[in-house]
Symmetry: D2
Subunit: 155 residues, 4 copies
């Protein structure tokens, strides 16, 4: 299998795991929109059960933090993959299972109104043990709803 073919296979497996196998991702309706190594994106639709403020109808803060957390984790994982291109597929997948958030800061900038939302992750630094990522959450009108910064164990 060529390196490119293995890459495609890895990304397809990650996509399946993320979208289908992580129970709480399904509750939130999180779907990978792009597995670009430099800035992966995760998307979800507004749905009534994701509401926090029942008078105003905007997203619950916990939905925002969950979307930001998993997108930061994806960015951390993909950032490490770029550096470890020669590992076998199994080792790479195992790494995905070992990924863990050390800590996360979320800044809630504007109320979460919108039809759908998209979180984009950016790697600030990848090391052998720890990766640091920045995440932005926009709504469908490209308004910046929240940002996050997270540290992740990657190895």
């Amino acid at each position: 299998m060529t390196s490119q073919a293995q890459d495609r296979q890895l990304l397809e497996l990650i996509r399946q795991l993320f979208n289908e196998k992580i129970p709480f991702n399904r509750v939130l309706g999180l779907r990978i929109d792009s597995l670009d190594y430099d800035h992966p994106r995760v998307r979800f639709e507004m749905r009534p059960e994701l509401v926090g403020n029942f008078v105003r109808g905007n997203l619950h803060g916990g939905v925002i933090s969950a979307a930001i957390d998993v997108t930061g984790g994806l960015a951390a994982f993909l950032g490490v993959q770029k550096r470890l291109a020669d590992e076998p597929l199994e080792a790479k997948l195992e790494r995905f299972g070992q990924l863990g958030t050390i800590d996360l800061r979320i800044d809630y900038l504007r109320p979460g109104f919108g039809e759908w939302f998209e979180a984009t992750g950016y790697v600030l630094r990848t090391g052998n043990k720890v990766a640091v990522t920045r995440i932005e959450l926009h709504n469908n009108e490209d308004s910046l709803i929240a940002v996050g910064t997270g540290a992740y164990v990657v190895g």
Copy 2:
């Protein structure tokens, strides 16, 4: 209505709003366990849909951050109530609706294994505009799963 009776009424209304009216709190199964002014507590049961790591079966990070966020908000709200005891009930309830998280840090200390989880909030500082709270999440074996620190708009 005496001040004590009004207090009880306020707390009963907050409990109903929190447990029944906030859609995403219901998805998570969050229930107020105590509205102690100094350290309110929120509890939820482990359920299959709250899982993040489907191999190990522990809580999704987003569930942890959501529980920590709302418990910090409760602590901020109750901390302000202590200072503003003489406001009419309607004003107090309106304040609850205006409560907003400015930012939140979460430290994920141990994997979220357990039968049920309890988050406890502590006020570090309340001002006229901003309150700062610290939150601890323990499991049913009293293991410290995660901590948080959050700043909230309260007025």
Copy 3:
């Protein structure tokens, strides 16, 4: 006095206060490099007393956090000025004195090696009470040493 002349006067006064009147800024050698409303910059030279790790000779973490904190505060202040252009000069200066950091996160990405360092602040959100800013610290080779996110009381 025209509005533009008042602007220039305000910025000149801020520059003097920042560079000359804040004792610990002088200890660090912090100097305003630009008071651009959208991304102000603060600069300082490496000096032996700013070292943390005496074996390797890089910046102390406290120097990094101090530079990031004050640059975030400047960005918050200037972001609010843009919105409140019609206030008299005295009111604007008073606002500068009332500026306060609520909380700050710093991510230390790379050891602080370099001849000089520059922190740039960006406003993520300005409100009537609270502003949120992001800050980047680069060295003279444009390597990203650290980033920060801070919430500031602005009114």
Copy 4:
């Protein structure tokens, strides 16, 4: 050398390094007050050059964050020592040199007024690679000035 004697020697060396050899610690006047494994303490005196707000005369935020950062690092280091009691002294000292802050959150709760200040560090979790600590800064009247939470690389 007995294990207890080695412990004392290690702590004495750490104290010397911290107080005498780290240039910016000397600028701040930071002195180790206690190397208790469970909650080390660092102390410093108010001095004119540590002031941030020259009108009110309180501590610069950067002094607060620096004191919190180094105290959190000490707590992380000592927390790891408890777990690795059997390492030779040289290995332990090398570990001290490798200690690095990944990220830090600081909450500035009250203006830094006082004659002297004391930061106390608490370990929330120690692992093989990463330790998480919480830090409190009080003034000489036992008023809580600021708190912090930090993640540190320890191995």
